[in-house]
Amino acid sequence: MRSHFAHLTLYSGIIATFFSVLSRRDRREQLRFGVMVWLAMAGGVIALAYLMLPFPR
């Protein structure tokens, strides 16, 4: 698999699930926290990539 985006979503998913199960007990809390972490990771990378768009290599 060579897609940056696929790896971004998959890796963020693994990390978000891990930390939500590790740090929250209630199922709904886990879901909320997991979605927040995933959005922060995936959204953060996309936002950073967008900011870097005017500065190509």
Binding site: M1, R2, H7, L10, Y11, I14, F18, V21, L22
Partner: protein, 160 residues
């Protein structure tokens, strides 16, 4: 008027014996999530096992770096090795399969296996997806090390 009844103190969970804590830590390192299962958190243990071994498998499939300790860059390569070894014996099996032996160190340049080990290491690093693989591999090891700390906290009743 009825007299107020004395409130019974909340039951305090018994402390886990030190031998059992040590066993949970060792078992948790050997099989990710098994430490939690040993302390009665079976479902959580299964989720952790799937996540960590999934990440480890993705790392191997994407030519992730199985770090070799080099005294020339002792600190960095040492940290890399810790991240690899954190996942338990699965790392040893991966090394046996990739390097053909339990390789943890960059050998002396005069050693007969030097060229073969370094070539294998560099071949994997040259792969286009190696950076992804390394992220998965090292995350798997570091997640398992975090789990061991969680096992300790659960055993000490600092956490549910």
């Amino acid at each position: 008027m009825a007299e107020p009844q004395p409130v019974a103190p909340a039951p305090v969970a018994a402390e886990v014996p030190p031998q059992r804590i040590a066993a949970a830590l060792v078992v948790g390192w050997l099989v990710p999530g098994a430490g939690h299962a040993m302390l009665g958190r079976l479902r959580r243990g299964i989720v952790f096992f799937v996540l960590i071994m999934g990440s480890f498998g993705l790392g191997l499939a994407h030519d992730g770096r199985l770090a070799l300790y080099s005294p020339r860059e002792g600190f960095l390569t040492g940290l890399q090795l810790v991240a690899n070894v954190g996942v338990g014996p699965a790392d040893l099996l991966a090394r046996m399969s990739v390097y053909g032996e339990a390789a943890y160190v960059v050998p002396e340049t005069s050693a007969p296996n030097y060229r073969q080990r370094i070539e294998t290491f560099r071949d994997r690093q040259r792969s286009a997806v190696s950076a992804y693989g390394t992220a998965y591999l090292w995350s798997a090891g570091l997640m398992n090390l975090l789990l061991l700390m969680d096992v300790w906290d659960i055993a000490k009743r600092r956490k549910d």
